[in-house]
């Protein structure tokens, strides 16, 4: 087990290295740099910088260096825990990201738990009541859940709550907490705004999970050990819960590895639609303004979160399934 964990963890730096190169290429690729965008903004607001000033700024930010030097500098700084300065906000990237990382992770975790809470019971119900009304009901719901894109579900629900109840469910905090430092009250306020995006994210995922759970459980239900259990006089409920459900959950655990990165990706889109101040909209802004080190840092954070999610699922799978542990 220990060597298994060690192996998984040793992969992280390697993956991050590969991703950092990919990301650097991507953030470098657009023609022009932040200074081009910056001077365009200034021109739009009436003032302007001359070419000399822009070049001086380029030199001071190291934007004039050749690519590989810029990359090495970037990595060197990252290894020291310095993510550089956001040219857009004139604040350290680390601070900008750290502020928004909490809501990002909270949203993903919340919808993760919610989707499992929805998927497992409805999967068990559908499998034990095959071809019943409830089964068909969940089936239809799942088909729609898979088919409806996150951002459109967000639009629909925002519209619904606005028209029916007059709630404008955008943003992550009430105005009074917007600028406040983190506190218990602010955390509670965030939860109040988090439920809708959480549900939106959870629904798509739980639709997939329910289908997997139902199929797995149905595979198990016909097995001889079930007949034995019934012959021994076990009640159907305890029989199902004790054996096939535990077996059917294993493949579900192995989907976590793909599911967690998906949640972060999905939260990015939902957050942009609903204007939640997590790292998603920040990335969108950084990308469109060519604030390359900010977008690079955020992309790296997403990659790290995805890798951690995958490893977490591997560990969970080893924990629930002894066969993997012993390999």
């Amino acid at each position: 087990m220990a060597s298994y964990i060690a192996k998984r963890i040793l992969v992280i730096p390697f993956l991050l290295f590969v991703f950092s190169i990919l990301i650097f290429v991507l953030i470098q690729a657009p023609p022009g740099d932040f200074m081009t965008t910056y001077s365009a903004i200034l021109a739009g607001s009436g003032s302007s910088l001359d070419a000399e000033q822009l070049d001086a700024m380029r030199v001071s930010y190291g934007l004039d260096q050749p690519l590989h030097i810029q990359y090495v500098r970037w990595i060197e700084k990252l290894l020291r825990g310095d993510m550089g300065l956001s040219l857009l906000y004139m604040l350290p990237n680390k601070q900008l990201i750290a502020e928004r990382l909490g809501p990002t992770v909270a949203l993903a975790l919340f919808s993760f738990i919610l989707s499992w809470l929805i998927a497992i019971p409805s999967g068990i119900y559908s499998a034990t009541h095959k071809n019943s009304f409830g089964d068909y009901f969940f089936m239809v719901l799942n088909y729609i859940g898979v088919a409806i894109p996150n951002f459109f579900l967000a639009l629909l629900l925002m519209w619904f709550f606005y028209v029916k109840f007059g709630w404008n469910l955008v943003g992550l905090f009430s105005p009074e907490f917007e600028a406040a430092p983190w506190s218990w009250a602010k955390f509670l306020d965030m939860l109040k705004h988090l439920w809708l995006p959480g549900i939106i994210l959870a629904l798509g995922g739980s639709a997939r999970l329910t289908r997997v759970m139902r199929a797995n459980l149905l595979d198990e239900m016909g097995k001889p050990y079930m007949v034995t259990g019934r012959a021994k006089g076990m009640s159907e409920w305890s029989l199902v819960m004790k054996y096939p459900v535990r077996l059917a959950i294993n493949p579900l655990v192995s989907t976590i590895g793909n599911y967690i990165p998906q949640l972060f990706s999905g939260s990015l889109i939902v957050a942009s639609v609903m204007n939640l101040q997590n790292i998603g909209p920040l990335l969108l802004q950084a990308l469109s303004m060519q604030d390359m080190y900010l977008s690079g840092s955020i992309l790296l954070v997403y990659c790290l979160l995805a890798i951690l999610g995958t490893i977490l699922s591997d560990l969970l799978l080893a924990w629930v399934d002894p066969r993997i542990r012993l390999e």
Partner: protein, 390 residues
Amino acid sequence: MSEKNNSVPEETKEPTALVDLDLDEMIRSKSEEKVSVASNWKLVWWRFRKNKLAVLSLILLFFVLLIIMFPDFFANQKSEETNARQAFVPIQKLHFFRDGKPDLWADKMVGKRNPKTLAMEWVIDEEGYTDLKFLGKSFKWKFLFWETNVHLITSANPGERVFLLGSDRMGRDQYSRLMYATRTSLTVGLVSVLLSVFLGVVLGGISGYFGGAVDMVIQRLIEILNSIPYVPIWMAMAAALPREWSAEQRFFAITVILSLLGWTTLGREVRGKFMSIREEDFVLAAELIGCSKARIIMKHMVPTFLSHIIATGTLSIPAMIVNETSLSFLGLGLRPPAISYGVMLQEAQNVQTMANASWLMIPGLVLVIAVLMFNLIGDGLRDAADPYSK
């Protein structure tokens, strides 16, 4: 997975037990013979047509393909025809009968300025109506090589505009735009799936057939690609596209971006298939006859799981469509003047606009239907792909 798949279907010993056909079909004389000499594709089709929802979706897909090929015929106005005075016109409902006689017409809308807010308010004019014409004439378009101006439904009075699905902020007709958006969005989905199927089959095939070091490298590549958080990387790629690129160039680039990260599932599947059948007798036989490697792969191995590839491919179309739409919606994918579902939905970005003009969300509903359609067809194909399983 059934081992001997369709290598020699004629020799299958118990066809009736292997293919569960309808009872009446079983009773029909010589039905057993029919099954035993049927080709693999015939068996797949027999299995597929039992899934009513999938067949229904296939029929829908046929019409959708017509829209993809001839959006101009279904549209009745040019996609960029604007009129500031006809902004946010609500849906003009279509009617098929008038005074008990079949007649095609739509509600007439009249706009009045609200004296307080000065906003335009549209109400149905109960007296009047907008006369419509089936196969009427409107703007000119090219049908293959012939120029024509016939459209499915047009306004009977030349010059009058009718908004069957309402109009947007700039007074553009949503219905007509939706036809063009369907073409763009679904083409992106179909083409990027074709590209990723190609990548998946080639790389998965190489990996599975040759094994060894090549397999190792491709497997690691797939693992790395799988742990990439797709959406942020897609966004970064789309943001990296030069701004001055034309709509066609962007379209092509987005397609490539989507397929570059999308081939891995299929790659894995194809690799698994290759590994499971490369030791089979029929492959050995082909080798002994002296077939070239390419011939063995393309003529002997790929056909055994082609139906699986098609099923998996179909099931991955929706994800591609949704991803393109999400990117375009966020302003990173296709940009106006290109029209896709995502571009159209950008008009519905804030709650107040949606509350006042709920018809702006129709492109989203159409998107959901399109996705459902591909999912249902894909599910039906997946279940039918292996006609020898029970």
